[in-house]
């Protein structure tokens, strides 16, 4: 079983590593978009999937990261990839400040406030807040990133950057799932009162989920800014938040493979069916309605964690 998994992992990595060599730059760029949305989906998955907090304003955290990168790079000429931790921190700090007063809100109320936050951020960016964000034109002239002396220009070069960042994300988030922190988020989602009654500081973990999700979205924002070299408020609308949200729900809340599949379908399929023009959105919408009726848990739902029980206690599956 373990060997089978290792082989599957090696094959997948191999395919992903050589894939862009067989595709034209347009399709490689589609893959890059899928990758960016997949990582954004994974970051939102911490908040929505694992903790069960409805956040329809995730694009605002993404925006804070992207604008941090753009401003610091264009004003102070700090190499853009060096700014990844700074972007993560600024988005995390933003989430901390924004989420602190609203974290006690339940379900739909929290959801509405996050929509409001998203709009505030977008409108603030359009209004050229602090004279730094460039208004509705956004910021252009962000430097191309440099990795070990090589400047990344082509979609293929970015593909490997995004792939590497995605791999690190998947690895760390899987570790997080199998930890005290990851479990605490799930307890909260399952039953908040019971979680409190088991000794879990629920307010703390809700906030921490928001911050971790935002830190990651902020770091993706950096990569996005580096890839586009120009960013504008248009890229961080409520609709972007909806897409990231749909990726998580459609793919499977709380499931890493599910979210990745969700990104492939939500971002990739519309590209495949571009010939169908507007009809594709109709098909897309209908598919989503169908999903929510027939498979509410998503395409690849979260699987139970596996534990190796301590020696001397063999039978886990027995009983009943």
């Amino acid at each position: 079983m373990i060997q089978y998994k290792t082989i599957a992992l090696i094959i997948t990595t191999g395919i992903l590593a050589v894939l862009p060599q067989f595709l034209n730059p347009y399709w490689v760029d589609v893959l890059n978009n899928i990758g960016i949305y997949a990582i954004l989906g994974l970051s939102l998955n911490i908040i929505v999937g694992h903790t069960g907090l409805f956040n329809l304003g995730h694009a605002s955290f993404f925006a804070v990261g992207a604008y941090t990168a753009a401003i610091l790079n264009t004003q102070y000429e700090i190499p853009v990839l060096w700014l990844i931790p700074v972007c993560g921190l600024s988005a995390g700090l933003f989430a901390l400040i924004v989420a602190r007063p609203i974290i006690h809100l339940r379900g739909d109320y929290l959801c509405i406030v996050t929509i409001g936050v998203n709009e505030i951020v977008r409108i603030a960016l359009i209004n050229n807040v602090f004279g730094l964000t460039g208004g509705s034109n956004g910021i252009f002239g962000i430097d191309r990133p440099n990795v070990f002396g090589m400047t990344l220009r082509t979609p293929m070069e970015f593909y490997y950057l995004i792939l590497a960042f995605g791999a690190v994300t998947i690895f760390l988030f899987r570790q997080l799932e199998y930890s005290r922190f990851g479990r605490a988020l799930n307890y909260l989602r399952e039953d908040e009162t019971a979680a409190q009654g088991s000794g879990i500081n629920t307010a703390h973990y809700k906030l921490a989920a928001f911050v971790v999700g935002a830190v990651w979205a902020g770091m993706v924002g950096n990569i996005y800014a580096a890839k586009m070299t120009i960013i504008s408020p248009e890229s961080f609308t409520f609709w972007e938040s909806v897409i990231i949200f749909v990726i998580v729900i459609l793919g499977g809340s709380g499931s890493i493979p599910g979210v990745i599949l969700g990104a492939v379908l939500v971002v990739g399929l519309p590209e495949l069916f571009r010939d169908l023009a507007n009809a594709r959105m109709l098909v897309f919408g209908a598919a989503m309605v169908g999903m929510m009726i027939f498979r509410t848990q998503g395409l690849l739902p979260q699987r139970p964690r596996k534990y190796t029980l301590p020696q001397g206690r063999r039978n886990g599956e027995g009983g009943e």
């Binding site: 799930n186 307890y187 399952e190 039953d191 009162t193 019971a194 000794g199 921490a208 029980l309 009943e320």
Partner: protein
């Protein structure tokens, strides 16, 4: 030395005084029962002790320290654990993970330790796993460790809640109708389990409707009616107390 001391505890919901100036003490290493007719305010008292509701008035001392209106998670980490009247398990998680929730307050690793699985985090995780298995074994559910909580029988779900509470390493455990929905055999096991907890030095405070169980296991009984304490004492006294009989059976009408 009192383990828990509740004094003049009061809580109203709107116009209804659910708990009215209730005082009682829990001595260490005893089993104390809280009984009373439906709606007497027993669960409300439990929710006040564990910080789920905020008290309007009154004081709660645990190990001589005030815990009144502390947030629940802090009260739990001070050494009070509880189960719920309506089973509140994490239904979609395994029995083991339910118990690991109880281990949470005994562990320390934070976000970074959890992301990077530092050596300390790994050690702690291993310890927690062992302790969780030990708590499951204590209630006799170790062979069900990897089953989903929702797939367990009703009686086993009750036991699992107790295991989760025990994993917080409490010195006082508060059981809200632990025998509710249990068959006779399971109730017998529960009585044995309460005895085992006592042997371990865990003090038990319980609400229960099954009078034979209460009379069998409790050393001291507190009786509530309409939010007020009407009697307190050992089972023999409570059995014969006219006010308690009145509360349960109603008043005999005189002609």
């Amino acid at each position: 030395m009192k383990l828990l001391s509740v004094s003049r505890l009061t809580k109203s919901f709107g116009g209804l005084t659910a708990v009215n100036s209730v005082s009682f003490d829990v001595q260490p290493d005893t089993v104390v029962g809280l009984i009373g007719p439906n709606g007497a305010g027993k669960t409300t008292v439990f929710n006040l002790i564990t910080g789920i509701y905020r008290a309007d008035q009154g004081e709660i001392l645990f190990k001589d320290q005030s815990i009144v209106n502390f947030p629940t998670h802090r009260i739990i980490s001070q050494g009070i654990a509880r189960t719920f009247q309506t089973i509140r398990l994490f239904q979609n998680l395994s029995a083991l993970e339910n118990v690991l929730a109880g281990c949470h307050s005994q562990m320390k690793s934070g976000v970074l330790g959890s992301l990077f699985h530092t050596p300390r985090q790994r050690r702690e995780e291993k310890m927690a796993l062992e302790e969780a298995m030990e708590a499951l074994a204590f209630v006799g559910l170790d062979s069900n460790a990897l089953q989903m909580a929702r797939n367990l029988s009703y009686g086993k779900q009750r036991l699992l809640e107790i295991a989760r509470a025990l994993a917080t390493k409490p010195s006082l455990i508060i059981l809200d109708e632990p025998a509710g929905g249990m068959n006779e055999h399971e109730t017998w096991q529960l009585v044995a389990l309460i005895g085992k907890m006592k042997e371990r030095g865990i003090t038990v405070l319980l609400i229960e409707h099954d009078m034979s169980l209460v009379m069998r296991v409790c050393e001291n009984i507190v009786v509530l009616e309409y939010g007020s304490k009407i009697a307190e004492g050992p089972p023999q006294e409570i059995k014969t107390d006219p006010r308690v009989i009145q509360a349960y059976l109603g008043v005999e009408e005189d002609d």
